[in-house]
Symmetry: C2
Subunit: 205 residues, 2 copies
């Protein structure tokens, strides 16, 4: 595994690429900073200057992984096409699909990230704040457009995120292969949406 | 530890009491059916007739634990005092408080039960069906009383149970000591309730 020669500058991005590959190859327990340095063909010292410990390296890889989840979601939140309700559903579907794909396609790395985030409380806290901020952005648009009941967007956004935990929180990953998971999400979503939409007159009321 | 003498009949209840105490004393890994037989001062054979394996014994103890969670909730579902919305909140508060107390007061047993239920998919499935049936019972009352929007109570009940996972599913136990957990639940509950209540005219609409 060769990522760069000695004469190119050692970028953070290159280190993280190598670290991710090394973690994937040897597993989180067996991977050392030295292994990553070897893969990069650089001295341990130059790597330790960027990442003083194995833990720091793992956290950085995980942080980038979280960013990769958040970036496409930000694009959806920044969008203006269609209704806010549709955008909100697309945002949630994308989050859920991304998490589910990680579990199915790369279960070892998913388990590694999950373990790291359990210890890195601050990191996951920042990530969740970023995601609920995106939801709040969509809700705000829907409130302005008169689609959603008016109010404070932030608590509603946090509530929406928490109320859908079963479908995106790693601790529930073992339930995602259930044949009922899609129907279950639809029921939860219908309930939540009916809580935020401005009420419309319908036959059942 | 003596639970009964040889001349009394060996009831299932007495075995489960002894098993629970033995599990508590030695931990789930170290407890054998023989240990429980010793505590009861009976032969291994008479105990094996009731529980052919350590796994069967642990499952039976866990099943009784789940029943102890469900019984007081059934009483609330059977009640008729106050509004259905109040009963629903009381039901949910009781479930959440019960789970939280187990984690705080008896973390080892809680961990044991959680491990067993992860393997005993059928048992947990039955338990969840029982609980969502209780929620459906309250929702049905609320629909009849014109308090809740009319519709099918069962999918709404399941959705309510799933949307509150973060507050009662053992996988989230590590979050229950958060100082924001009460406020978080209030936000989620407000959102869910506004999804099931018949809409009333209010200032914000």
């Amino acid at each position: 595994m060769k990522y760069m020669s000695h004469d190119q500058p050692l970028t953070k991005e290159a280190i993280l690429d190598a670290a991710e590959q090394t973690l994937r190859r040897y597993g989180p327990e067996k991977t050392s900073v030295v292994d990553v340095a070897k893969a990069l063909q650089v001295s341990h010292g130059s790597l330790y200057r960027h990442f003083p410990s194995k833990a720091a390296l793992r956290e950085a890889v995980t942080e980038r992984w979280l960013q990769r989840i958040a970036d496409p979601l930000q694009e959806i939140a920044d969008g203006t096409d269609g209704s806010a309700a549709d955008r909100l559903r697309l945002w949630m579907d994308t989050l859920i699909r991304t998490k589910r794909n990680y579990v199915l396609e790369d279960p070892e790395m998913f388990a590694m990230y999950t373990t790291v985030t359990l210890d890195a409380v601050m990191m996951i806290d920042t990530h969740v704040k970023l995601l609920t901020g995106q939801i709040a952005q969509i809700i705000k648009q829907g409130m302005r457009a008169g689609e959603f009941k008016s109010g404070e967007p932030e608590p509603v956004a946090k509530a929406l995120f928490m109320a859908t935990s079963q479908f995106h929180h790693p601790a529930h990953a073992y339930q995602w292969s259930s044949s009922e998971i899609e129907a279950d999400f639809d029921s939860v979503w219908a309930l939540l949406l009916s809580g935020i939409m401005k009420s419309t007159v319908n036959g059942s009321e």
